[in-house]
């Protein structure tokens, strides 16, 4: 009797990941076709509309770029932690924390000059995200508390903190009883770049490029990778694991927090509990698809931005925007499935003890 097993390739197939990504994309599109046909829509018309709305004009590009900003920063946050073998599942909460701090500064800084106010808001956003991540960071470094769960739990805590503020002390007295924070003043809005795009696009690209350089060109980045691949090696090399774990997780939180600040200052009228719209979780998928590489993060974030913008645009055609959510998940599953074959080869083996034990 023979069976099929996966055997690790001696070398990872060259170009395997971009190819896997492409296969994942095609797979997701096919699933989308089935979903659309089932619900009685014309897939070609829907996909045409999605591409048109996300990439078909400078205006469409500007909206897609804006959308890619929080996705890319959240993806980078996950990738930064991931480069050391740590999981920051808390980007969602850190984005909210960043947005909350930025909104708080916007309240305090009434009457400040716009560049000063925006800078202060973004710095506060970084601090907010970093603060929320600092608990899990210290707990992980000092007593080995699993950072996956602590960061995950803090997502829910941050969301409720924001709800509490919006329903309570931050509620706009002129909102007629609705739990809404007041509108941001014009001075708190990030200046525009072209069409709808704002300066957050440049900031995000800058941060991603900066980390890419630091990770690949500096001793600090090298130490990070050593510590990530083997704690024992790192200790022999005199790298302080505890300090590295703490700084990397706090840095990761700060990057996610920045995404929240930019989202508030660039895209939103006011802070709402929906300000993150799942960017934190999508960021984990972005980072995974990019194999934790900053350059890959930017590319995948752009594509996910397009899928999300396209998904929102088809609501006018009577299609649920959840189609884009479904597509994103299937892109990942498709890519994971295809990616396995760049690392593993399928072999046929005899299913008796001697050969399977070899």
């Amino acid at each position: 009797m023979t069976r099929l097993v996966l055997v690790r390739r001696e070398q990872v197939l060259k170009g395997g990941q971009p190819l896997a990504f492409l296969i994942g994309l095609v797979f997701a599109m096919l699933v989308g076709v089935v979903l659309l046909l089932i619900s009685g829509h014309d897939p070609l018309a829907i996909y045409g509309r999605m591409v048109e709305a996300s990439l078909g004009s400078p205006r469409a590009w500007s909206i897609t770029l804006n959308r890619a900003v929080p996705l890319g920063l959240a993806g980078l946050a996950v990738a930064v932690a991931g480069s050391m073998g740590l999981w920051n599942i808390g980007a969602e909460g850190q984005i909210l924390a960043g947005a909350m701090m930025a909104a708080w500064v916007a309240r305090l800084g009434e009457g400040w000059a716009s560049p000063l106010l925006i800078t202060a808001m973004l710095v506060a956003a970084v601090v907010g995200g970093a603060l929320l991540a600092s608990g899990p960071a210290v707990a992980r470094a000092q007593i080995g508390v699993n950072e996956i769960i602590t960061t995950l739990m803090l997502n829910e805590v941050a969301l409720r903190l924001l709800q509490w503020l919006i329903h309570g002390s931050w509620k706009d007295p002129e909102s007629h009883g609705f739990p809404l924070a007041p509108m941001l003043p014009d001075e708190a809005r990030l200046p525009g770049l072209f069409e709808r795009a704002h300066w957050g696009v440049v900031i995000a690209l800058g941060v991603i490029a900066l980390f890419g350089l630091v990770a690949s060109r500096t001793a600090w980045g090298y130490e990070l990778r050593v510590a990530g691949s083997s704690g024992a090696t790192a200790r022999y090399a005199g790298i302080s694991l505890k300090r590295k774990i703490t700084t990397v997780l706090i840095l990761s939180g700060g990057i996610a927090g920045l995404a929240g600040g930019i989202e508030l200052s660039g895209n939103a009228d006011r802070i709402t509990e929906g300000i993150s719209a799942g960017y934190g979780f999508a960021g984990i998928i972005v980072a995974a698809l990019a194999l934790l590489r900053p350059s890959g993060v930017a590319a995948v974030a752009l594509l996910f931005g397009a899928v999300q913008v396209g998904g929102l645009s088809i609501q006018t055609m009577g299609v649920s925007s959840s189609v884009s959510t479904i597509l994103q998940a299937f892109i990942l599953f498709g890519a994971i499935g295809a990616g396995v074959f760049s690392r593993y080869a399928v072999r046929r083996v005899n299913n008796d003890k001697t050969s399977s034990e070899s």
Binding site: I148, I149, H167, S322, A329, F333
Partner: protein, 310 residues
């Protein structure tokens, strides 16, 4: 505080406790086998929408409940396919399952928003037992799913500690190669555990739309899947302790909507942070204690097993 409102609070505590317990029990078994599934929130959404939609079609709550369990078990196997067979990162796959489940549920349930339920699981009438003051309302007038949750908890507890299947399951999560050498298929055990986790999350979701809040709306699960994940840690991977945690967290959910009636001047939103903060606190205590004794978590949790790389 009136007697009626106190009875109402305790009765709701049992209801919410069962809701959380079902999903947590499934996740507990999954984690015991060595697989972390962060897709609980998405699986609950799938169970909730399936239960509601099937009830609309068939007008039979039991067929709807069963359909939700089966559909969610199959859905969970997607996580099994990617993590157990293809060896993908469990955290990433599980979160994708949540994203997919929530999105798919919203897509499938679009036509059901705002519609009255096709059928509900009516509370069980235990005859004279239901008439006992306090106890009758709190324990003997619940949805059948509550008793199902209690039975499932006892069954899982016995299975894990007293059967060879349970031993093999725990073995898969502690030391997969040992279980493999003993002649069990780690792949089969883990796939079965993932499917069971899905089935229980599906039962929990269906309980939501067939009993607790018999309606469908996007985002109906409202983060309760994450509480279920938290409960597994809170309960130190033990069905009994998880049950205690479920009642505690269920009580917090029940209290949340009733704070005002009890004249307590605390924001219900702040109260709803407690399960997550408590879980973090428990995790810290577990980690401090783990320095001196073995950790409560399955040793191989989150690790892919490949026999050819043993």
């Amino acid at each position: 505080m009136t007697e009626a409102s106190m009875i109402g609070l305790l009765s709701a505590t049992v209801s919410f406790g069962a809701l959380l317990y079902l999903a947590a029990l499934g996740e507990l078994v999954t984690e015991k086998s060595g697989i972390l599934n962060l897709g609980v929130e998405g699986m609950m959404a799938i169970g909730a929408v399936t239960g509601f939609m099937v009830a609309l079609e068939t007008n039979n709550p039991w067929i709807a409940f069963l359909a939700a369990i089966v559909a969610t078990a199959v859905f969970a196997l997607l996580h099994g396919l990617f993590t157990v067979i293809l060896g993908a990162e469990q955290v990433v796959s599980g979160l994708s399952l949540t994203i997919l489940g929530v999105g798919l549920a919203a897509f499938l349930g679009k036509g059901a928003v705002g519609r009255p339920p096709g059928a509900v699981l009516a509370p069980v009438d235990w005859g004279p037992l239901s008439d006992i003051p306090w106890v009758g309302t709190i324990f003997f007038s619940q949805s059948p799913v509550v008793y199902f949750a209690v039975l499932a908890g006892v069954a899982v507890s016995l299975l894990l500690t007293h059967t060879s299947v349970g031993l093999a399951l725990r073995g898969a999560g502690e030391s997969a190669s040992t279980v493999d050498a003993a002649g069990y298929s780690v792949t089969a055990i883990r796939l079965a555990a993932v499917a069971f986790g899905g089935a229980m999350a599906g039962a929990s979701g269906a309980y939501l739309t067939l009993s607790l809040t018999p309606q469908w709306a996007e985002g109906l699960t409202a983060g309760r899947g994450w509480i279920a994940v938290a409960l597994v840690i809170f309960g130190a991977w033990r069905p009994g302790r998880a049950a205690v945690g479920a009642v505690l967290f269920g009580g917090l959910l029940a209290l949340k909507t009733r704070l005002q009636t009890f004249g307590v001047d605390l924001s219900p939103i702040l109260l709803s942070m407690l399960p997550y903060l408590l879980t973090i606190a428990v995790l810290i205590v577990i980690s401090i204690r783990a320095r001196n004794r073995p950790s409560a978590a399955p040793a191989a949790l989150g690790q892919t097993y490949r026999r050819e790389e043993r």
